[in-house]
Amino acid sequence: MKLVVAIIKPFKLEEVKESLSEVGIEGMTVTEVKGFGRQKGHTEIYRGSEYTVDFLPKVKIEIAVQDDAVTVAAQAIAKSAKTGKIGDGKVFVLPLEDAIRIRTDESGESAL
């Protein structure tokens, strides 16, 4: 199993979620994060002094999938999250050794 971790632009979340369910992926965990990379932040001003906000709001999606589903999932995300503009984000793939469904104690792929 793999853990597919994607960092995307917040307003793309809905789209990504839909394209994932199209490829049969119904489970995921989402976290609000702040991103730092090529895409630069913006400058704000407060009571006369400027300052730059480096970190941009992003959304992190974590999905545990069977090995064979990795590419489908990654593609689905990459396709639906793309705007072509800098800051679109990343998809990371990590090895996942085990998974347990708390409710049923099932483990392994059947837990996903």
Partner: protein, 456 residues
């Protein structure tokens, strides 16, 4: 003619007779005596011919207490404005300080403030210092009628007291904002108590108490200098000793510490604007229609002008329509008109407010440049604009320019020195600043063991 005359006299007779016996039998025959009865007796007792004056007295007294309530709500305005323009980790602390200030302000004013503010004949140093004791029963000895101060005051003793008492805490609140986010709570509690009990009332006695400032013809209608200026100057002294918040002024320039809630800040400013109608309007000290209408108008127009001019200034100078500047601009306009609200034309009030709105923006930027850290802009709004507002009465309101300048110098220097000494003494004795550890963690947890927000 003669016939009519008789008829008239008849009428008159009934009138006077009825009046004469009012305390024994109610006017419109019915059993139980009520407030109107009592009132008629009061009128009678002061001579029927004073009825209109007496009614005026009653109306004016009503306005005085309503104005006191409006000034009271300014303290909620200060509390929310200060909270909004500071970090959420210090919000409990700021709210707590404001509860403390209004409470201690009212109590000390009863214990010694009122009679020190208005020493009447009991000065230790005539015209300069008259520290006196607590208030007694102000309704006694005609204090509940115009016996109190004779015809020269259209309110009762308690009306006078409560209206002035609400003003007293203001000075401390102004300081509260400037020293926010790093001052030690207990130290502030001691400092603010001394400031409202002695500092504010002594300076006030110079002008409103009939002291030397009133003798030289200094004019400050509702307190641009004796209230706002005093607070601003005192705040400056405290901030100089206290120093800026950690991380505000770094090697690579000013790092703004952003306020945590603009809605809170806006609520604060609108409530202050609202309360200012009591602050200035109540300072007419009567319900005299002419001045009352003028004061409401100049107050509102100056605030509006301050808002607009600060918006334009921020757009031009900062390239951004800065809300926090617009909010300070409204207040700047209000402080700028406070000294002359009753003695300038609407047109002049617009000018005074507009200039105040420009001044405040530059004052805030300037103080930041010279590393004087005032989280809410209190020194600029109350201190800097207080000077402008007072001087402006010499320009637009026909007051003597020299007297105005002397008055400003006198009060500002006293406030600064008084505050500096008191604050310094507290620093050496109990310390004035929290540890950098506590500061970065936030005063809410380190001082109160409480957090302001717990979104679940």
């Amino acid at each position: 003619m003669r016939e009519l005359l008789t008829k008239l006299s008849g009428l008159l007779l009934i009138a006077l007779l009825t009046a004469a016996v009012l305390d024994t039998t109610p006017a419109i025959g019915q059993d139980e005596a009520g407030p109107v009865d009592e009132y008629l007796e009061l009128v009678e007792s002061s001579g029927a011919e004073y009825a209109p004056a007496f009614d005026f007295f009653t109306v004016s007294m009503l306005w005085t207490v309503i104005a006191a309530a409006l000034v009271f709500i300014m303290h909620l305005g200060f509390a929310t404005l200060e909270s909004g323009l500071t970090q959420s980790k210090n919000t409990v602390n700021i709210l707590f300080k404001n509860v403390w200030i209004i409470s201690i302000g009212l109590i000390t004013y009863a214990v010694l403030g009122f009679n020190t503010h208005y020493p009447v004949d009991s000065w230790q140093i005539p015209g300069w210092l008259g520290i006196n004791g607590p208030i007694g029963d102000l309704n006694a000895d005609g204090g509940d009628g115009w016996g109190y101060g004779g015809l020269s005051l259209a309110m009762t003793g308690y009306g006078d007291f409560i209206f002035q008492a609400m003003f007293a805490a203001t000075a401390a609140t102004i300081v509260s904002g400037a020293v926010a986010e790093r001052i030690k709570l207990t130290s502030f509690m001691v400092y603010s108590t001394i400031l409202v009990a002695f500092g504010y009332t002594i300076a006030g006695s110079w002008h409103w108490g009939g002291g030397w400032l009133s003798d030289i013809g200094f004019y400050d209608f509702a307190g641009s200098t004796v209230v706002h200026g005093f607070g601003g100057a005192a705040a400056l002294a405290a901030v100089l000793i206290l120093g800026p918040r950690a991380g505000k002024y770094t090697a690579d320039g000013i790092k703004p510490i952003v306020g945590h809630s603009m809605p809170l800040a806006a609520i604060g400013v609108f409530l202050l604007f609202f309360g200012w109608f009591g602050f200035n309007g109540g300072s007419v000290l009567s319900a005299n229609p002419g001045p009352l209408g003028l004061v409401f108008t100049t107050t509102a127009l100056a605030a509006a002008a301050g808002g607009i001019s600060s918006i334009i200034t921020s757009m031009v100078v900062l390239k951004k329509p800065d809300l926090s500047m617009a909010l300070n601009g409204l207040l700047a306009g209000l402080v700028s008109i406070t000294a002359g609200a009753d003695s300038v034309s609407p047109f002049a009030s617009v000018l005074m407010g507009a200039i105040g709105g420009v001044i405040v923006v530059f004052s805030i930027i300037f103080l930041d440049k010279i590393k004087i850290d005032d989280p809410v802009g209190a020194i600029s709004v109350h201190g800097t604009c207080g000077i402008w507002g007072t001087i402006a009465v010499g320009i637009f309101g026909g007051a003597s320019l020299s007297s105005q300048i002397i008055g400003v110098l006198g009060v500002y220097i006293f406030a600064f020195v008084f505050s500096y000494i008191v604050f310094l003494l507290i620093k050496v004795t109990m310390g004035v600043r929290v540890s950098s550890e506590e500061e970065s963690r936030g005063l809410d947890i380190s001082e109160h063991g409480q957090e302001a927000y717990n979104i679940s």
